[in-house]
């Protein structure tokens, strides 16, 4: 039983629910290698036709931003209201804009 403590790596699983949609993160699993991770992901996350395509990625290969909600990492987009269409007042009687 002690053998398992040298644990299989963790993988993150992404499923494309239908053609035309992005792959979405659905959860994680442990597997000995990439191929086994794919098979396990199929059995675990697509038992009811939830997807047409699967990605598995070793969790330790992911580079993430800091988790903090006040993260200055996202500050560059915070003060650029002019990136949104509502920034520009257009008279009501101008059609189709």
């Amino acid at each position: 039983m002690s053998g398992e403590r040298a644990s299989w790596p963790l993988y993150e699983v992404f499923v494309r629910p239908r053609r035309g949609l992005n792959h979405v993160h659905v959860g994680s699993l442990h597997a000995a290698d990439d191929k086994m991770a794919l098979l396990a992901a199929r059995d675990l996350y697509t038992r009811r036709n939830e997807g047409v395509s699967l990605w598995v990625v070793r969790s330790d290969a992911i580079t993430a931003s800091s988790p903090d909600e006040q993260d200055p990492f996202f500050a560059p987009s915070g003060d650029k209201v002019y990136r949104h269409p509502t920034f520009y007042p257009i008279p009501e009687d101008v059609p189709h804009i």
Partner: protein, 319 residues
């Protein structure tokens, strides 16, 4: 010290505002510990929960029933894995949780310590046990901890098949012979009270509930959920033509709810302490499966290591 109070205040405000807590957010140690205990216990219940029904897999009366039961058991295995994965986001290791289950240091739902004596038990488990689980689990889809809530959304989607297949099985049996109807009634008589106990001790004897409610882990008290389950189940029992074994069961027009008797809480305590009819058997079975699977885990690791080494040397020689 100042900083600690500040992050605590931010956590409290976020939870009170119904925001979700995600794995790398700061959280109070007690919140983390409560979640680990609850999610692990929940995961263990899904895994151990395969055993009572698994008892009938090879003896299901038709290929149709066998395929359904197998699919249900596979779902329960999946539920266990979703939940272990959610627990791991809190910094614990799945293998460690399995060890704790097998060593008796962590619990699972007491309901799975009762035996499945006839095939009618398979139907009654789907109807009552999965039904009670649904009552407990639906509010957990809004739990403050994101990964747990998301796992519960997946689980709840799958549970309704579990309950419906059980009820349909029972409808088939009650439309059959007198012997089949008696078998269904006997199973209901044995599973009714343990199902009510699945909601935990009465509110007055559930000391940690209040804190879990404040943390938005728990949304309703044990007694509220138990009442909801009884109110949902009574008309279903009437439709099946079975009697729920409670002489105190009576419609209360004033409350708009069913009054019902008090479960035998000393029995629940006994089962939790390990003295239920099947506690030892369930753990022994889990241990045997885990130890029996060790060679598979080792072989897969050895194969992965060999392939990785081959790839590395191939790259060296070609490069």
């Amino acid at each position: 010290m100042e900083a600690q109070a500040q992050v605590q205040a931010r956590f409290d405000a976020a939870v009170a505002a119904e925001q979700r807590v995600e794995p790398r957010d700061w959280m109070p140690e007690a919140y983390r510990a409560t979640l680990v205990r609850q999610i692990a216990q929940h995961a263990h219940s899904e895994i151990i929960g395969m055993q009572p029904e698994g008892n009938w897999l090879t003896r299901a009366p038709s290929l149709r029933r066998k395929a359904i039961l197998l699919a249900k058991a596979q779902d329960e295995a999946g539920h266990g894995l979703y939940l272990y994965a959610a627990a791991e986001t809190l910094g614990v290791d799945r293998a460690e949780l399995t060890e704790k289950l097998v060593d008796g240091r962590q619990k699972y739902s007491s309901i799975f310590n009762y035996p499945t004596l006839t095939f009618a038990d398979v139907g009654v488990i789907g109807w009552l046990v999965d039904g009670a689980a649904i009552c407990n689990q639906v509010p957990l889809c809004r739990c403050s901890y994101g990964p747990y809530a998301r796992a519960m959304v997946r689980i709840c989607k799958e549970e309704s098949f579990h309950q419906r297949q059980g009820y349909e099985l029972l409808m088939t049996m009650t439309a059959g012979t007198d012997a089949q109807r008696a078998m269904v009634q006997d199973a209901v008589d044995r599973w009714w009270w343990p199902s009510l106990m699945m909601f935990g001790p009465p509110d007055g004897a559930s000391p940690n509930s209040e804190r879990s409610m404040a943390w938005r882990i728990k949304r309703h008290s044990n007694d509220e959920l138990r009442q909801r389950f009884v109110d949902m189940t009574v008309p279903q029992a009437e439709h099946l033509g079975v009697l729920l074994p409670d002489p105190e069961l009576a419609w209360n027009a004033e409350r708009g709810s069913w009054d019902f008797g008090e479960p035998d809480w000393s029995e629940l305590q006994q089962v939790i302490k390990g003295h239920g009819p099947c506690n030892a058997q369930r753990i022994e079975r889990r241990r045997a499966a885990h130890e029996g699977g060790a060679w598979v885990r080792e072989a897969a690791s050895a194969y992965a290591a060999k392939r990785a080494a081959e790839e590395a040397s191939g790259e060296r020689s070609s490069g």
